[in-house]
Each structure stands twice: as structure tokens, then as C-alpha cells.
């Protein structure tokens, strides 16, 4: 059970796509920094549909994206703070920062 940590936008980095190539059932993804923008791309949301997704509240609200990202349907998105981030790193067996 791995928490995959993505920090970069898919518009300039392959981190998320590589992570999706190697992700296993039971793993989760946390999107931070520009990686929160991933959820604005409908073609990427489809790829994430079966995976628990965490997004960091400060990074979403800094970008004014809260209402846009939390109303996305058909996908499990959990808006979390740093304390929950810490908890999730421990609930999973390891963290891979791509």
C-alpha cells in the first residue's frame, strides 16, 4: 500500500503518467503544488477514477480551485490538510515522491 506523491503539473512533467503505469491496487495518490491542476483535465480524471485521491487544501485554496475541484463527480477526492497528510504517510507502507 503506497502513497504516491505528485508535485508537478502534467503539462510539463511525466511524473503522474509514470506513477499511473506502476501503481498497484490499494495504492493512493496525493496531489500537491501544481499537481492539483491534474483534476482540471477530464482525460486524466478518467485515469484516476479507481484510485483514492488526496489533494492538499492549502495548494487548492491558494489557487482558488476549491469549488471547482471538490464538485468533480465519479471520483473519490479527499481534501486534506498537513496533519491528515502526515497521517496518510503512516497509514500507507511508504511514500513515493515522483
Amino acid at each position: 500500500m503506497i502513497l504516491h506523491h505528485i508535485q508537478t503539473s502534467t503539462s510539463h512533467d511525466n511524473a503522474l503518467r509514470l506513477c499511473l503505469r506502476y501503481i498497484s491496487p490499494g495504492d493512493s495518490i496525493i496531489l500537491t503544488a501544481d499537481a492539483v491542476n491534474v483534476l482540471l483535465y477530464p482525460d486524466l480524471i478518467i485515469l484516476l477514477a479507481a484510485i483514492p485521491i488526496y489533494i492538499l487544501k492549502d495548494d487548492v485554496e491558494a489557487r482558488g480551485l476549491r469549488s471547482k475541484l471538490t464538485t468533480i463527480r465519479n471520483i473519490e477526492i479527499n481534501l486534506i490538510d498537513e496533519h491528515e497528510f502526515v497521517y496518510q504517510t503512516l497509514r500507507h507502507n511508504k511514500v513515493i515522491t515522483w
Binding site: 508535485q7 502526515v86 511508504k94 511514500v95
Partner: protein, 129 residues
């Protein structure tokens, strides 16, 4: 209580990796966990540069790391070879390399990559930014 080692690869200014790492460390310690060390690698070594002079209405991440280290007794370790390559020197490094100036704050300790390896060995969890 769990033990974390946190690796920071982003500079103090130019990416948000460093501030996200700092917020993570603050959340971990406030929840009663231990951050056994923060290891600065790649461009992360720039965080130790005491010559950062942001405008007064901007955050000074270098200073925030120093304050965090002092208040929580968390060691800040710079990878010495990554630092020297980037012109980040402690007073001792300056002497050894015949440089008249240095910039790395003494709150940051210069160490080898072995510090990262031993930190990973002793921590419950590694989190990189």
C-alpha cells in the same frame, strides 16, 4: 510516535517544495511525531544560505527552517558535496577551499550522503519534497 526523515530537494525560492516540506515537518512534530532529521539534497541545499534577503512582506524560508530547527530540536543536514557544487559553503568549507566568504548558516550541518542513508535506516518513514 513515529520517526520521520524528510528530504528537501527544492530551493528556498523558486519552487514550493521547501515550504511544503516545512509545513509537513511542523504538522508531524505538532502531532507528537519525531522528525529525526531534515536532509537537504540537490537544489535543497540553497535553503541554508543565510544571505537570502526577501522583501519584508515575503516569507523567508531560510529563516523559518532555522526557527523550526531551534524550536523543535530537529537537525538540518546539508549534503556537503551537493552544497559545494552550488556555492553553498560553511565557514569550515570556506577555509578548506581557500574561499574568503561563506554563506551556509551554522544551524545547518554539512554532512555526507551517509546521513541520508542512516536516517532512512532509523526512520519509520521517508518523505521527499
Amino acid at each position: 510516535m513515529n520517526k520521520f526523515i524528510v528530504q528537501v530537494n527544492g530551493p528556498a525560492y523558486g519552487s514550493t517544495a521547501s515550504i511544503r516540506a516545512l509545513k509537513f515537518c511542523q504538522a508531524a512534530t505538532s502531532a507528537g511525531h519525531q522528525v529525526i532529521k531534515v536532509f537537504f539534497y540537490q537544489d535543497g541545499v540553497q535553503n541554508s544560505n543565510s544571505l537570502h534577503c526577501p522583501a519584508s512582506d515575503e516569507i523567508n524560508l531560510h529563516q523559518l527552517w532555522v526557527e523550526f530547527s531551534h524550536s523543535q530540536q530537529v537537525p538540518l543536514i546539508n549534503c556537503v558535496s551537493a552544497a559545494l557544487r552550488r556555492g553553498v559553503l560553511s565557514e569550515q568549507d570556506a577555509e578548506e577551499n581557500n574561499k574568503s566568504q561563506w554563506n551556509s548558516d551554522s544551524t545547518f550541518t554539512m554532512g555526507g550522503l551517509g546521513e541520508l542513508v542512516s536516517g532512512i535506516e532509523h526512520a519509520d518513514r521517508l518523505v521527499c519534497f
